[in-house]
């Protein structure tokens, strides 16, 4: 699946990175707590979140996240957009809630970047 497919499934608006929609994606992580993202997310995954501040972009950059999906119709601030453009991290915004966003992607074959916690880095 590509980011373009993700955009279609989620009827999402591409806010940053319209030139990167051909990027492949297989896995995702959903959270509003960035420390949990840092603890558990894997590189080359999607980050699904309801947070919109620049720290989301920083977190995504640190972890080599493929793209950020902002859920519940959230729109990031200007400085979040600016940082994402600078760091070349795509941001998509969908009106689906986090549960629906995760479920719809999972139904189409996107899996969690880990299934459950415990034991592994």
């Amino acid at each position: 699946m590509t980011l373009k497919d993700v955009q279609d499934i989620l009827e999402a608006e591409v806010l940053v990175g319209s030139d990167q929609l051909q990027k492949p994606v297989k896995t995702a992580f959903s959270a509003d707590l960035m420390s949990d993202v840092l603890a558990f997310a894997k590189p080359d995954s999607l980050l699904l979140t309801g947070l919109t501040n620049p720290q989301v972009v920083r977190t995504a950059d640190i972890l080599d996240i493929t793209a950020i999906i902002m859920v519940r119709g959230k729109k990031p601030s200007e400085e979040t957009i600016k940082l994402a453009e600078e760091l070349k991290i795509p941001i998509l915004s969908t009106r689906y809630i986090l549960f629906e966003t995760s479920g719809r992607l999972h139904a189409k074959g996107i899996t969690g970047c880990i299934e459950k916690v415990g034991g592994e880095i």
């Binding site: 960035m34 420390s35 840092l38 603890a39 501040n53 620049p54 720290q55 880095i121």
Partner: protein, 156 residues
Amino acid sequence: MGEPLKFEQSFDVEGGSFQNAGNVSGQIKNILKQLGVPADIVRRVAIICYESEINIVSYAKKGKITLSVSDEAVKIVSKDEGPGIPDIELAMKEGYSTATAAVREMGFGAGMGLANMKKYSDHLIITSEVGVGTCVNMVVMDFPKILHPDLPPVTL
């Protein structure tokens, strides 16, 4: 390549500057990439730095993060002038936090920072004095030249 790999640089972090939190970690990540450090190690160090930076920004007046890279390991020292930690064992517990609402709004402050720093480092030592500050020493080992015998020259 006879030259041993040796790199060291310090970065100032301003307390309370939520806007810039992550800048230093981003710089350190780029430096490690340029040094040819394997991606997995880069990511671990970047996470450690980022949590350190968030801690300084969240709690301290100011701080300094020092990156040292050698053939054997990457070392990160995060030293701040802040309130200090009265009970380090308690502070290391996942879920324990004294964070403000502003920190929580950023998606941090849930008591995972030090736990994450420990999780991603091979060695972690904290020293702290209440009213003076905190110093966290972290080492990520197993590394560079062993995996990358032909490290490219450093251009910074």
